[in-house]
Symmetry: C2
C-alpha cells in the first residue's frame, strides 16, 4: 500500500488496537496522526504524530481530522461489561460523539472512515454458528446496540454525503499492548494475573466459547479496509474458530508450564454462550486471512507481557496510591 503522502488518522490511537495499528502504518511508511488519550505506551507510536485529546472534544477532534484522507474510528469509552450500567451515558459518550465525528469528517473532507465494530456483541445470541455478516443483529448489551447504531449512521452518511466507509466486526482481539484496564481482554487479564501470581477471575464455568483473533491479523484487516474497493461495507474479522475459556486457560498453562490459580465467579448476563464469526467474506472479498495460530499469538503475548509487566504494574501502583 503506497503512501502517496496521504494522511491516516487513528482515533483511539492511545488504546490497544490504536497503538498496534499506528505502529503498523508507520512501519509501512505512511503519514500517521494518532488521536486519543496518551497512555503507558504512547512512545511505542514513535514516528506518528500523537495528539492528546478526548473524542467528545469537538475542537480537538476537528484539528485531529484536518487533512486526513482516511480516519480509523477505534474509540469506545465503555465495554460490554460496563455499558449496561449507564445506558444513556453510553449513548452520550459514544454514539453522539460518533455522529459529530461523521459530521466533521464530511466537513473537513475525510474520504473514508474505517470503523471498529463488535463481532462479539452485535449479533446477540447468534442463531447461526459461525455467524455471517447477513445474520440478524440482536445485541443483548448496550455496547452492542451503540456499535450497531454507529454502523447505521455510517451507512446514512455514505448515502447522504458520499462518505466512504468500511466496518470491521472484530471478534475477541488479543495481543501486545492490551492491558485490560477496562475489564476487556480475557487473555490480557489472564496473562497479567498469571505473571503476577494473582488469582484469575473467570465468570461462569469456563464453557463460554469465543473467537479469539491475534492483533496483527486485525491490523492486517484494518489496513485492507482502508483501501478496499469492492461493494461490501461490513466484514467479520475473527479466527473463525471457537475456543472455550477453559481451553484458553489450558493454553496459557501449557505455555507458562504451570497451573493457574483460578477464582470462579458467577455467570454474567451480557455473555452470550457462543460467539464464532464466519470470516468467509473477509477472505473472499477483502483478501484477508488470519495468519497467526492461537498458540503462536498467545506465546507472543506472553513474551510481550514478560517485557512490560513492570511498566504496567508500576502504573497500577501509581493509580492505587
Amino acid at each position: 500500500m503506497p503512501s502517496n503522502g496521504r494522511l491516516f488518522v487513528v482515533l483511539g490511537g492511545g488504546g490497544f488496537l490504536g497503538i498496534n495499528l499506528t505502529r503498523r502504518l508507520v512501519a509501512a511508511g505512511h503519514r500517521v496522526r494518532a488521536f486519543g488519550h496518551a497512555g503507558l505506551f504512547t512512545e511505542a507510536c514513535a514516528g506518528a504524530e500523537f495528539r492528546q485529546g478526548d473524542f467528545s472534544d469537538r475542537a480537538a477532534l476537528t484539528d485531529a481530522l484536518r487533512g486526513a484522507e482516511i480516519a480509523f474510528h477505534l474509540v469506545h469509552s465503555t465495554v460490554p461489561q460496563t455499558a449496561n450500567l449507564d445506558i444513556t451515558g453510553d449513548v452520550k459518550e459514544n454514539l453522539i460523539p460518533s455522529i459529530t465525528f461523521l459530521d466533521l469528517a464530511v466537513e473537513v473532507g475525510v474520504k473514508r472512515v474505517v470503523f471498529l465494530s463488535s463481532g462479539g456483541t452485535i449479533y446477540g445470541r447468534p442463531l447461526q454458528i459461525p455467524t455471517e455478516e447477513t445474520a440478524s443483529t440482536e445485541p443483548i448489551s448496550a455496547y452492542g446496540i451503540s456499535k450497531l447504531a454507529i454502523e447505521k449512521y455510517l451507512a446514512l452518511y455514505g448515502e447522504l454525503f458520499g462518505l466512504e466507509y468500511r466496518i470491521l466486526r472484530v471478534a475477541n482481539p488479543f495481543g501486545p499492548f492490551q492491558v485490560a484496564k477496562k475489564k476487556q481482554g480475557l487473555l490480557a487479564e489472564i496473562i497479567f494475573r498469571a505473571l503476577g501470581r494473582e488469582p484469575i477471575e473467570v465468570w461462569g464455568d469456563g464453557s463460554v466459547v469465543r473467537d479469539f483473533v491475534y492483533v496483527d491479523d486485525v491490523t492486517d484487516a484494518l489496513e485492507l479496509a482502508a483501501v478496499h474497493t469492492g461493494g461490501e461495507h461490513i466484514f467479520n474479522i475473527g479466527s473463525g474458530i471457537g475456543r472455550s475459556v477453559r481451553n484458553v486457560l489450558a493454553t496459557v498453562e501449557q505455555l507458562l508450564g504451570r497451573k493457574l490459580d483460578i477464582a470462579w465467579k458467577a455467570k454474567r448476563a451480557v455473555d452470550v454462550p457462543v460467539s464464532i464469526l464466519s470470516v468467509k467474506r473477509a477472505r473472499e472479498k477483502l483478501g484477508w486471512n488470519p495468519k497467526t495460530s492461537f498458540e503462536s499469538g498467545v506465546a507472543q503475548t506472553i513474551a510481550w507481557w514478560k517485557e512490560n509487566l513492570d511498566t504496567v504494574v508500576g502504573e497500577a501502583h501509581i493509580q492505587k496510591s
Copy 2:
C-alpha cells in the same frame, strides 16, 4: 378487553395516533392518561386524564407513568423529512429520552411498553416486497435509525429487567386528527389543501409506492399489542397493499368529484421508491386484520376534514400572526 381498573398511559397523547388511541381506549371503558402537548383536539380525548408535558421532561414523565400498567410510546419529535437535517439533535430529542423513559418504566413498575415504530423507514430500500419483519433493517434516514435503535433498547430492557414490550412497525397511517403540521401525512396534506383550494405539493413524479393504513386499523393493532401473549415482539402494521401517490391523488379527486391542483416538486433522497409491508405475522399471531378499505378510509378522512377544516385553518392563522 376488560379494564380491571388498570391504567393505560398514552405518551404522545396529543398527536394524531395518540388522540385516536386515547378515544378508543376511553370508549372501551379503560382508565386512560394521555401525556403530551395539548393541541387543537385535546378535548376530543374527554374521559381521559390529559397531562400536558414534554417527553424529555423527566419529572413530568415520571409523574405521568406512575401507576401505569401499560404505556404506549407514540412520541417522535422529528419526521423522516426533518430528522436528517440535525442528526445529533434527533438522537438527543428522541433516542435519549426514550432510554430515560425505559429507565422510568422499570423504576415505576410499568408492565408493558407498546412502541410505535416505523414500517416505512426501518427497512430502508427493501430487498423483499412485501417486506416481512425478518427482513434486514437498513434505514436510509436518521428517523429510521433512531426508531431502530429504540427497538433494540426495548429488547435490551426486556432482557435485563423483564420489561414486556411489543413493537408495531406501522406503514403510512392516515385518518381523522392527522393535521400534517410536521409535514408527515400525505393524505392529510392532500385533503387539507384540496379543501382549501391550495396547490398540492408532490415530491417526485408520483410513482413512489406506499402502504396506507387507516387509523382505526392501527388503533386495533395497538389495543391487541397491549394484551398479546405470544412470543413475537415485532409486528408490521399496514394494509399489505401498495398504492402510488398518483393513485392516492386520483382517489381523492374521485371522492371530491373534481381535479386537484398539483405542484410537482423534486424527488427527496429519503423517499424509498416502494414500501409495502407484509402483515402476515400480525394476521396470524396478533389476531389483527385491517378492516377498512382505502376508499372508505379516505372518505371518512374527507368527512372529518370537512367538519374540522375551520378549526385547523383558524389555528394556522393564529400561528402565522
